[in-house]
Amino acid sequence: MSDKIGIYVCECGPNISGRVDIDRIIAEISNLEEFSDKELIVKPHKLLCSVGGKAFLEEEIKNNELTHLVCAACSPRDHDTTFINVCKKTQLNPYMYTIVNIREQCAWIIPDKEKATDKAIQYIRGGIDRVLYQEPLFEKQLESNPDVLIIGGGMAGLTAALVLAGKSRNVYLIEKTSILGGKAALFSEFLPHQSDIADLKNKIKEVENNQYIRIFRNTELEKIVGFLGNFEIVLKQNQTGDTTDLLAGAVILANGYELMDARELDNFKYTDADNVFTGLEIEEMLTSQGKITLRSGEKPRSAALIHCVGRKEAGYCSQVCCNYLLKTAGYLLKQVPGIEIIDLHQDLCQPHTEDQAYFESFKEKGMQFCRVQEVALDGNKIEYVNMAGEKKEIAPDMVIIAPAMKATASNEALSALTSIDLHETGFFQEAHIKINPVSTKTDGIFIAGASRGPCDISEAMIQAQAAGGKILTQLIPGEKIIPEVKVSEILEAYCTGCKTCLDVCAYGAIYFDNERGISVVNEAICRGCGNCVGSCPSGALRSRHFTNLQLYQQVKEALR
């Protein structure tokens, strides 16, 4: 079949036609010598993107049996997809079309009409020579597995499991310890506005009784390979060392947090014999012995709460400790009427509408609040500097500290297994901090709860539902997955096996084939970003819709 190239020049109303000479474009392009062996069809149109314009284009492609299409119009940002969709209605493979931007790049920026017209002609010539070297590409469809693996049985993991499990989707929930609930299982109470979640035991029961959720206790992830819709997974039982093989389409990392050890800080010196407790230790004490006491078993008559322990070193605010310290103060006030409590804080973080009133209720109860610049602890002796710069010393019976929440060692281990990134704070890195907060750079792997950053239970639950929402939209039972078409490939004959590209690919799409001694692109993971192409010292990498030849021809023709 001989080449038949359609070139359609959009006037965009007066937007293009007012600033470039459409007639001259049509005349010059129709008579280009270098394409004299090809059949060119060159036509203007008032408004290619309009309903009429699209119908016109569709007819032209079909009636002229075009093999290549060039639309000289506006920015691909505006209408690339518009014209691709037109191609999809015809015999023309959409990868045999290209858009040339003669509006933003010519008409709108060059005041001189003749010069703008010259540039538009150059660009269109470049477009024609590019499209001639394009190749048809075809979408692939891959089977996908709708099941989901959830790592961590805290509030985030439990919530996600309940959103996802159902008739057509199994959930595998793995928990490193023997109990479900995470840190929340230790808490005697939640915050006052959280009455709805007080029933943690019921939630755990609901998960345990759900026939579509399979729980693996004392279990961790051993190995994972694959991509969205097709992950091969190996789990390992901690005590027996037994392994289980599973298939799943998506993974949620919900492995939680731990508290920083305050004794690592220069200005916090205390031992296990001192009456210094972390917030979690108080919760544990209350759950195990039903009351809060000093190590001697006596009731404390005075207590100090210290906020923001290690906040500066950690580099972030832990968001929940201001509130849970108040909750702890509430326990103390209830148990030891008349107890004197001083609250030493640097800031009060009250990011929810309910928080300020909660705080004010403690002011009314006679608790003393003091803002400090610095705090140091030696046993139960506290030295602090208030905002006016005065140094003070106190020695309350009991000291309760709020060390920074931090990422656990599991984050590093899971990051190594899944190749998703860690944020500089050690928490998981989201795909986009604002508009894609539970996805990661690897499709099919999601993050929720305190392993992606400090959060309270309410937020951990919202994140878990968000991850659930993402999976429910991306992994629909019975539907196939269509991976990116414009991917990169490695030409076996050129690859020397230097492995440079393996480091460059941010998506972990390239693997090394030991037998053949070359690298291979996994097309289901590759996003076609092209980073690897530039890195290959042997020229073995080729980006399918952006080959060197295509780009060279386009530039060469445009500069002719």
Binding site: T82, Q319, H352, T425, G453, Q465, A467, T473
Partner: protein, 426 residues
């Protein structure tokens, strides 16, 4: 069509848009109802957004484009929910789609029609900093990029004159004075309320002098002055159009006492102001006067530390509620109790108020019509750790439930989609 395949999303801010796109991806049909002529919500008012300072338009415009091109999403701008009957799984909803008087399919957004219009009105989307015509788009880059005619001001539509100037100018014949408000009746399986927020009318905060002293600005006024598509194309000048501020004070927590809660984002966006103001106004000195600092994300505190190191001086006030602004010749005098509760004064050219976030105007009516409860601050009440409202089948996402950043708004909308798809699966 089966109602179980249709979802109504009210409000087209970042929360409503993200939810709509996800639902479409899951094969649902979405009606996205927005009361303004443009989609995008409040994020598009801010030229850039924290923490990573990326350009908001670059962040949101591709999302807006996807929405407008999505075959599963019907976008109804200048529209209103009128009535809701039925229950989860099958709500019967009446909507008015107000006349735009410009045919969206025919208009190219060339912008030829508004300069010729003889009628002007204040542009409140631009915080009243500029005027717009009776036929207008709110700002350059509005999407859909199609003007709308205000029927109460248009001389022809309000019957005062036989004006036809815009129609004569439009060579695409896109102006259509015969367009009528339409009443639509549709059935939906579920509803997401994503109506966002307003900010407190700063005039209410007595001691800060907003509205009285020209040098006092609200956060959104500064956002629009900083934005390259704003009234000054991103050039920072005082209201007289000439003076360039040399000293600027940013007052945190403005109106916090009046509303009774922390607004969650106003500790972080001043970092952005410091960043861009120091870039745009060489030599400018910036002071942040604050009482508490709240950084609800792992990345926000670092941003603050960097700002304090290089770009702004942070002044702690032991009692921000006592801060007072007065005018002294062409300067503003700020009196406040410092860290040791000692009286301090600061002379500046400009004061920026980080004004509290409030429920959006009209939320009361909407919640009544939807029969969902509001919390004691007036936001939509949600179950803890959830996006469920007090009525089955109606979910809430974004600032409609209280102040939050973009991240948290998006999280909620994704969670709402999770709940809806879960509900429809069973």
């Amino acid at each position: 069509m089966n109602p179980s395949d249709k979802i109504l999303v009210i409000g087209s801010g970042i929360a409503g848009m993200e939810a709509s796109l996800m639902l479409s991806k899951a094969g649902k049909k979405v009606y996205l109802v927005e009361r303004l002529p443009l989609i995008g919500g409040n994020v598009i008012k801010t030229g850039e957004s924290f923490p990573n300072m990326d350009c908001s338009t670059c962040l949101v415009a591709p999302i807006q484009q996807l929405i407008l091109q999505d075959k599963n999403i019907t976008v109804l701008t200048v529209s209103k929910v009128e009535k809701v009957i039925g229950k989860a799984g099958n709500f019967g909803v009446s909507l008015t789609k107000k006349a735009r008087y410009v045919n969206i399919a025919a208009c190219l957004g060339c912008g030829m029609c508004y300069p010729v219009c003889p009628v002007s009105q204040p542009n409140f989307w631009e915080q009243g900093l500029v005027e717009k015509k009776a036929i207008y788009v709110e700002c350059a880059g509005s999407l859909p990029n199609v003007p709308v005619i205000d029927p109460s001001l248009c001389l022809r539509l309000n019957g005062s004159e036989e004006c036809n100037l815009c129609a004569e100018t439009c060579i695409f014949g896109a102006i259509d004075f015969s367009e009528k408000d339409e009443l639509l009746e549709e059935n939906f399986a579920a509803i997401i309320v994503a109506t966002g927020f307003s900010t407190l009318d700063a005039r209410i905060i007595k001691n800060l002098g907003y509205g009285k002293f020209a040098g006092v600005y609200t956060a959104y006024e500064i956002e629009r002055l900083l934005a390259s598509n704003g009234p000054t194309e991103g050039v920072i000048k005082m209201r007289d159009g000439e003076r360039i501020p040399e000293k600027i004070a940013i007052i945190h927590c403005a109106g916090r006492k009046e509303v009774g809660y922390c607004s969650n984002v106003c500790c972080s966006y001043p970092s952005r102001y410091a960043h861009f103001l120091t870039e745009k106004v060489p030599g400018v000195k910036i002071f942040d006067i604050y009482g508490d600092l709240c950084f609800p994300d792992k990345a926000y505190q670092k941003l603050n530390y960097e700002t304090r190191k290089e770009k702004a001086e942070y002044l702690f006030s032991a009692d921000l509620e006592k801060l007072e602004i007065s005018e002294e010749s062409d300067k503003l005098k700020i009196k406040y109790p410092d860290a040791g509760n000692q009286h301090k004064e600061l002379l500046v050219d400009m004061a920026i108020l980080a004004v509290a976030i409030t429920p959006p105007a009209g939320l009361e009516d909407l919640t009544e019509l939807l029969e969902i409860e509001r919390d004691k601050y007036g936001f939509v009440k949600a179950e803890t750790g959830s996006v469920n409202t007090t009525r089955d089948g109606i979910y809430v996402a974004g600032c409609a439930t209280g102040p939050r950043d973009i991240q948290s708004s998006v999280l909620q909308s994704e969670a709402a989609v999770g709940q809806i798809l879960r509900f429809l699966q069973d």
